[in-house]
């Protein structure tokens, strides 16, 4: 969205309260959605749960094409459509709900930096594994990505997407990386997150922020997705405080065990 359009949407957003029928769109959970998209979608769901905003999840095969920016997930609230975690956080803030208001300037800078770290390393590693690692591509990705479409469209779309992702990897310098190097980067990222989290319950004070939602989305998906090998989830399992963190958020916000209690 251009800057003018964004400002306009914020203005409109501020005037209306959060409706009951807000919907989040993602791809089909069982057969189509891929690791990186699932992580993004879970991050948004976790964020909205943390803000106590009700959301309904709808699975559509063409979610990627419905989205205004081409990326999933996107939410449909009132008569606005917003995609990706960053713009969604700002949209929710315009409506008066925010998780990071209690942070000072230095902490906000740190939070943004760590969110970029997750996007830069974890998300890119997930994309690499899905689209540039031949074993995973052949066994899992191609089949899943094109599953709702008839032949030959399923193959064409899958190849097109793979070409796009490979182009992007090459542009940012990941084109020549081997799988081992990518896994090492994931390990470094998890180590940094683990060190930052330490023994706290959440990354900042006692309250969750969008960073917690993002980290949860990615780590939980990595831990629970079945891939051709377990190397990626093993890297995350090395850090016990990250595992405890995921478990805690899952219990608090997705199993309703401590609804209304902040710990």
């Amino acid at each position: 969205m251009s800057l003018v359009a964004e400002a306009f949407v914020s203005q409109i957003a501020a005037t209306e309260p959060w409706p009951e029928n807000a919907t989040l769109y993602q791809q089909l959970r069982g057969e189509q959605i891929l690791l990186s998209d699932n992580a993004a979608s879970l991050a948004v769901q976790a964020f909205l749960q943390m803000c106590n905003l009700p959301i309904r999840v709808e699975c559509r095969a063409n979610a990627e094409y419905m989205s205004p920016s081409g990326k999933v997930p996107f939410i449909h609230v009132g008569n606005q459509v917003v995609s990706e975690l960053g713009p969604i956080v700002q949209f929710v803030k315009a409506k008066g709900h925010s998780l990071s208001d209690g942070l000072d300037e230095v902490q906000k800078a740190e939070m943004k930096a760590y969110m970029e770290l997750v996007n830069n390393m974890l998300l890119t590693a997930e994309l690499y594994l899905q689209w540039c690692d031949e074993a995973t591509v052949g066994e899992i990705t191609h089949a899943r990505y094109g599953s709702p479409y008839p032949w030959p469209l399923n193959h064409i779309l899958a190849y097109q997407k793979q070409w796009e992702v490979k182009r992007k990897m090459k542009a940012i310098g990941w084109g020549n990386k081997t799988l081992d190097q990518v896994l090492e980067d994931v390990d470094q990222c998890c180590q940094a997150l683990s060190q930052r989290l330490g023994t706290q319950h959440y990354f900042f004070n006692k309250q969750p922020t969008e960073l917690d939602a993002l980290v949860f989305g990615h780590l939980y998906t990595i831990l629970t997705t079945q891939l051709t090998s377990d190397e990626l989830s093993e890297k995350v399992k090395n850090y016990s405080n990250l595992l405890a963190f995921c478990r805690r958020i899952e219990q608090c916000y997705f199993e309703d065990q401590c609804k209304g209690r902040l710990s």
């Binding site: 081409g70 940094a192 060190q195």
Partner: protein, 278 residues
Amino acid sequence: MAAPLELSCWGGGWGLPSVHSESLVVMAYAKFSGAPLKVNVIDKTWRGSRGDVPILTTEDNIVSQPAKILNFLRKQKYNADCELSAKQGADTLAYIALLEEKLLPAVLHTFWVENDNYFTVTKPWFASRIPFPLSLILPGRMSRGALNRILLTRGEPPLYHVNEVEAKIYRDAKECLNLLSNRLGTSQFFFGDTPSTLDAYVFGFLAPLYKVHFPKVHLQEHLKQLSNLCRLCDDILNSYFRHGPVASRPGGLPVPSAAVFLFTRRKHHLTPIILWTS
């Protein structure tokens, strides 16, 4: 004594030891950690490669890309981060990711995509340091690479056009600069009184933006208002890159025809002298 370490990189101008961000990051880190680096500046001869600059060459290794070079130097026991705590190390990684995602597209745009800047400053500078006929091809290729990177990482389908993303990337870059300035506050370096990897990266990205004279100075003006970041760059330049008479600049200002860059480390022995002619 460790094997001699040679660094191939782009040369300097406007008071900087190098105008290329990645080369500057490596040079700054080498200074902070005390690594004895012999700097080979790329010039008009056909010696040395121009590909993945900066490149570090030792007796049996060739390492490219700043992150890998820094890792290599750390393994050779040249570590600028030995006084940092684990959390500060984690913060370093996070802030470097922030720089690469938010600031780098705008820096690339200012140098390589903005037409006024590219044709009057960047292209002539780089072309004068590349032998003919490569000088006709390479700058254009670097410019297209930069544009590609910006569009692929920030552009939105189906309208992959640079105008759509210009406003967004400059806004993100200004926000990033503000965040860095807030984080630095009034301290001398990001983590206390000694410079570390993060200072090297921030210096590498900001110094060219701060010092190079561009016609379109959009982002530079914003940076100049953040006095603590400018002070950081100046401090590092004065303490670690003390150089001789006036720095040479191609075309325009009346400057002496040769300048001697003396790279020294504070209170310690001399590293090789680089003779630079404009």
